[in-house]
């Protein structure tokens, strides 16, 4: 086997990488008649079998598994990460930027809605209007929402005892007030959908 341009070649001139790339397919006409290729395929077949065997053994080997503590830590972080999603910029101070995750904003909005008697908040969505903004050292700009143009859609279930139009007005006020107090965001649009009525 010769080296050519840093890549090992067989005596017949083929790159060994090419042989490996097709190792799971039947031998070609050339490979069936070439001794170099037959020898390489046999060696690579053996390597693949040994690798597969070791992989299977590791899979069943308790010593190769992470401890439950490590697994729980990884899963907790992964679950939290999924929930965090995009960022909404809140302020830029002389010291740096401040932003809030869209998920935290959603939770805040649902909390605000649920403080109103007869209202059970369900889903909340911040409408997408991404801007090409970034913060040095912070998260990437790919997931940034324009903090000056926050529009949301909120779905709720209402008690059958409340008057819907009046409750909608109160709900918009409540959500707007609490979000403003916590984050200084002034909502540009709050769309509310009543999905369900419940007896109370």
């Amino acid at each position: 086997m010769a080296m050519n341009g840093g890549k090992p070649r067989l005596g017949c001139g083929r790159l060994i990488d090419d042989v490996w790339a097709s190792i799971d397919q039947p031998a070609t006409i050339h490979e069936r008649s070439c001794r170099d290729c037959q020898s390489a395929r046999a060696a690579l077949d053996h390597l693949e079998a040994v690798t597969r065997s070791m992989r299977e053994r590791d899979r069943g080997d308790a010593a190769q598994r992470p401890s439950s503590r490590v697994r729980e830590a990884i899963m907790a972080v992964a679950r939290a990460e999924v929930r965090r999603s995009r960022r909404v910029p809140l302020a830029t101070t002389p010291l740096g930027t401040i932003d809030i995750s869209e998920q935290a904003l959603n939770d805040l909005i649902r909390f605000a809605a649920s403080t109103l008697p007869g209202v059970r908040a369900r889903r909340c969505t911040v409408l997408r209007s991404p801007t090409p903004q970034s913060s040095p050292g912070g998260p990437s700009s790919a997931g940034v929402v324009d903090g000056g143009d926050v529009r949301i859609t909120l779905t709720v279930a209402l008690s059958s005892q409340v008057r819907i139009p009046a409750t909608m007005t109160l709900l918009r006020e409540r959500v707007g007030t609490i979000v403003q107090a916590q984050t200084a965001i002034t909502m540009q649009q709050i769309d509310i959908g009543v999905e369900d009525l419940y007896d109370a």
Binding site: A73, I74, V77, A78, A80, E81, R84, R87, L90, A91, T93, L95, G96, T97, I98, D99, I100, S101, Q103, A104, D107, L108, F111, S135, P136, G137, G138, P139, A181, Q182, T183, A184
Partner: protein, 133 residues
């Protein structure tokens, strides 16, 4: 003759500053916790692995330029320390005001360590009910 300004060559114990920031910010009223993220966790493992290798293979190498704690990423360049914080805050405190306070607190800790303050960016990752006392 004495000299008030520090010499250029200095040893910065970034891990010590990270620990101080973690404790100080974690105990700040209204901060429920400093939130670990997948990014900070993976970076921490990477930094720890590289640091371990350096300690074993290259004795006497410079002190690390990045330190990671739950919810904190510290980067040190020149004499400037840059910080990113991920916070979970209490609903009983205005989140934006609290984030500003934590920036100030972090800046004080950094200055007290004799370093210059770079960017201190804050992300609020959760607003939760205050823990039961």
């Amino acid at each position: 003759m004495t000299r008030e300004q520090p010499f250029d060559a200095r040893i910065v114990d970034l891990d010590s500053i990270a620990d101080t920031l973690s404790t100080t910010l974690g105990n700040h009223p209204g901060v429920i916790r400093l939130e670990p993220t997948l990014r900070s966790t993976m970076t921490r493992w990477k930094v720890a692995s590289v640091g371990h290798l350096h300690r074993n293979l290259r004795h006497g190498t410079p002190s690390p330029t990045v330190a990671i704690r739950d919810g904190l990423v510290l980067s040190f360049t020149g004499n400037v320390l840059t910080l990113h914080m991920d916070l979970a805050t209490s609903i009983s405190n205005p989140a934006l005001g609290l984030a500003r306070e934590t920036q100030e607190v972090a800046a004080e800790v950094i200055r007290a360590s004799g370093l210059s303050v770079g960017h201190i960016d804050v992300t609020i990752l959760a607003i939760e009910g205050a823990p039961a006392s």
